[in-house]
Structures are given as C-alpha cells and as structure tokens.
C-alpha cells in the first residue's frame, strides 16, 4: 500500500472519520477533533504503521500532512 493510502487509513482510524481525505496541504484546522491530544495519538499510530520513531523536533515543525509524508519517505529510505 502506498504511503498516502496508509496515512489515510491511520487518519480515518484515529479520528474515527471515514470522510477524511489525505492531501498534501491538509492541516489540523481542517480536521475536527485534531487537537494536541489527538495529535500525539496520530503520531504514535503513524510510528506503529511505518515502524518508525519521530523526535519532537521532527514533528513539531511539520506544516502540513504533505511534509509529514515526505518525512516518512525520507526516513524509510535511510
């Protein structure tokens, strides 16, 4: 499954919302219930999905989902 599809699966699961559509410019203000608590759940769910670990520094500066997917691609290629 490609990265975008896997992101979509995780997002829909964490936010319990099958209508969520992943796009590069997606940010927290466009997703209901994407608050600081769910943000951590989302990150931990993505870490589990991709078998990766993100530092606070890597996560906190991400501007949108596109940058998050790029980060995952970069770490998977390392």
């Amino acid at each position: 499954m490609e990265i975008k599809a896997r992101f979509q699966k995780v997002f829909r699961d964490v936010f319990d919302d099958d209508s969520i559509e992943i796009r590069d410019d997606l940010t927290a203000d466009a997703v209901e219930d994407w608050d600081s608590l769910n943000h951590v759940q989302l990150v931990m769910a993505l870490e589990k999905e991709f078998g990766l670990r993100f530092t606070t520094g890597e996560i906190i500066d991400l501007k949108n989902v596109g940058e998050f997917m790029a980060l995952v691609r970069k770490k998977m290629n390392q």
Partner: protein
C-alpha cells in the same frame, strides 16, 4: 504580545489552539492578566522571533507531555525511576531545564487546569495572609518562581526564602524576580528542599510547595518538613500530580485520597482543596492526569 502569541499558534500550530482557547474561555480575565505578565517576563524586548520561539517551546512541551502520558498508560510506570535520576537528567542539565521552566511557566495560563490552580492560589490561599504584615514565606522548589512572585506582588511587606536543588531554576527564578523588582525581598538558594540541616522549626507563616510532591522518592518527608517549619498560625500551599506523567515525576499518586492521607499523617489539616484535570480526556484513557492543590495548616 498575547495576541501575537495566539495568532502564531493559530497560524503555525493549530492543533494546539483548542485547549488554549478553552483556558481563555474558563478564566478570560486571569488568562489575559497572567498571559501578558508571563510573556513580558519571557520576552521583555517584545521581539517577534522570540514569540515564535516561545510558541515552539510551548507546543514541543505540550506534545512531549501528552506523549509521556500515553507511554505511561501503556507501561504503567513513570519515566524516572528515582529523584536522583531526575536530578541528573533534568535538574542539573542546563538546556533541558531552560526549555522545561520556560514551557512550564507558559502552561500556567495556557493549560486550563494549571490556570485553575493559579486561580485557587490567588483566591483561596493568599487571602489567609490579609491580617499578617511583614511575614516570611518558605518556597520549596520554586522552579520558575511564579507562585512566590504572585505572593510578593500581593503583599508588599512579605519576604520569601526559597530552596531549589536545580541551580538553573534558581538562576531563572532570581532573574525573573529581579525583572519584577522583587529581588530585595527574595532569597533564592541552591539547596535540596528536604535538607534537614537548615530546617527552621515553626519558622514560617507561609510555606509554598507547588509541583514538588510527585518529584520526590518519599513525599511524606516533605509533609513532615512542612509541619515542622510552619508556624502554628501559618498556612501552607501544596500541590500533587495524580496519575500524571512527566520526565521527572517519580512518586505515582493514584488518587486524591492517597495524598490527603499522607498530608494528615504528617499532622497537617486540609482546610481547602481543588482537584482538576485537563478538559480534553479520551474515553479510552485509564489514567486520568489530575492536579490536586490544598491549603493546609498544622492540625
């Protein structure tokens, strides 16, 4: 500056805005008053870049705290095994403490449950000193020193002696007191809060021990120390974190009742209390983070 701070969160880190707005909604006046004061202390030159750095610091800390709480839920244990470990990894580490104290100070108005504790301190603890003049307070582990400074601003004749094991905390608290022209009435000393050699029996009209109990291997020793050093007509302010993880939380209180029992066993009476938690709790969470604050006196 507060408006700039909020705009920056909204623009750059919107996932952190909801709970901040919650805090603002719960205590609109105190949020603005405390927020402006804290931001003025942390950014005296009102530098735009510094505001962005403070937003970054706050959001990083909030993310880390939430993450630690989830890990604690899964593991069942706090990250720090002992006070010594916390001291080595946190209190003696300059970079870690700078980020910690700066961020923690910001949470005092940005986190709804922390702002409630400040409200409790101001409205339900400080009034006990209305009739006292020229009183001496002991502040144990002041950290960023906020509570002591609030007391000194309210009571112009009061003085504070404060002990903290972290030289970085002492440096930060001293600097912030100086910025508010309070340094002539404060004495900040690098010292273990439980150091028996400097214990003054019945020495203080006020003892403040906020955010300390859960950092100790044996918090009952703190309760005993407060009992010994509080004057018979004195009042103490004590807080405890309950099932709330942090990098340097050591003692896991499981319930408010456990804290009450410990306090009473030390010969202290609880004359007022609040237990509060973050507003956003997930239904799946089994360990609800709470803060318990108490006004205490000798029984």
């Amino acid at each position: 500056m507060l408006e700039q701070f909020l705009e920056t969160v909204k623009e750059k880190k919107p996932q952190f805005l909801k709970s901040i707005l919650n805090s603002q909604e719960q205590e609109p006046e105190l949020f603005v008053l405390l927020g402006e004061k804290i931001l003025a202390l942390l950014n005296p030159s009102q530098d735009r870049k510094r505001i962005e750095d403070l937003v970054h610091s706050y959001c990083s800390y909030t993310y880390e705290q939430n993450r630690l709480q989830f890990i604690y839920e899964l593991s069942g244990a706090y990250p720090a095994a002992s006070h010594d470990e916390a001291n080595t990894n946190v209190y003696q580490n300059y970079e870690v403490m700078l980020h910690y104290m700066e961020s923690l100070l910001l949470t005092q108005f940005l986190w709804p449950h922390h702002l409630q504790i400040v409200r409790f301190f101001v409205d339900r603890y400080l009034p006990y000193f209305r009739e006292m003049n020229n009183f001496l307070a002991l502040e144990l582990a002041p950290g960023h020193g906020l509570f002591g400074r609030i007391m000194l601003e309210k009571y112009p004749a009061a003085r504070i002696k404060a002990y903290d094991i972290s030289p970085i905390s002492i440096e930060i608290a001293t600097t912030l007191a100086k910025a508010k022209s309070l340094n002539e009435r404060t004495e900040y000393v690098v010292r273990d809060a439980l150091d028996q050699s400097c214990r003054v029996l019945n020495g203080f009209e006020a003892i403040i021990a906020g955010e300390l109990m859960e950092h100790l291997d044996d918090p009952s020793l703190l309760c005993e120390s407060i009992h010994d050093q509080l004057k018979p007509n004195g009042f103490g302010f004590l807080t405890a974190a309950i099932t709330a993880a942090n990098l340097d939380h050591v003692y896991e209180f499981k319930s408010p009742e456990e804290v009450r029992e410990m306090v009473k066993k030390a010969g202290l009476a609880i004359i007022d209390e609040i237990v509060t938690s973050p507003p956003s709790i997930k239904a799946s969470q089994t360990k609800i983070p709470r803060v318990q604050a108490m006004v205490i006196k000798k029984a």
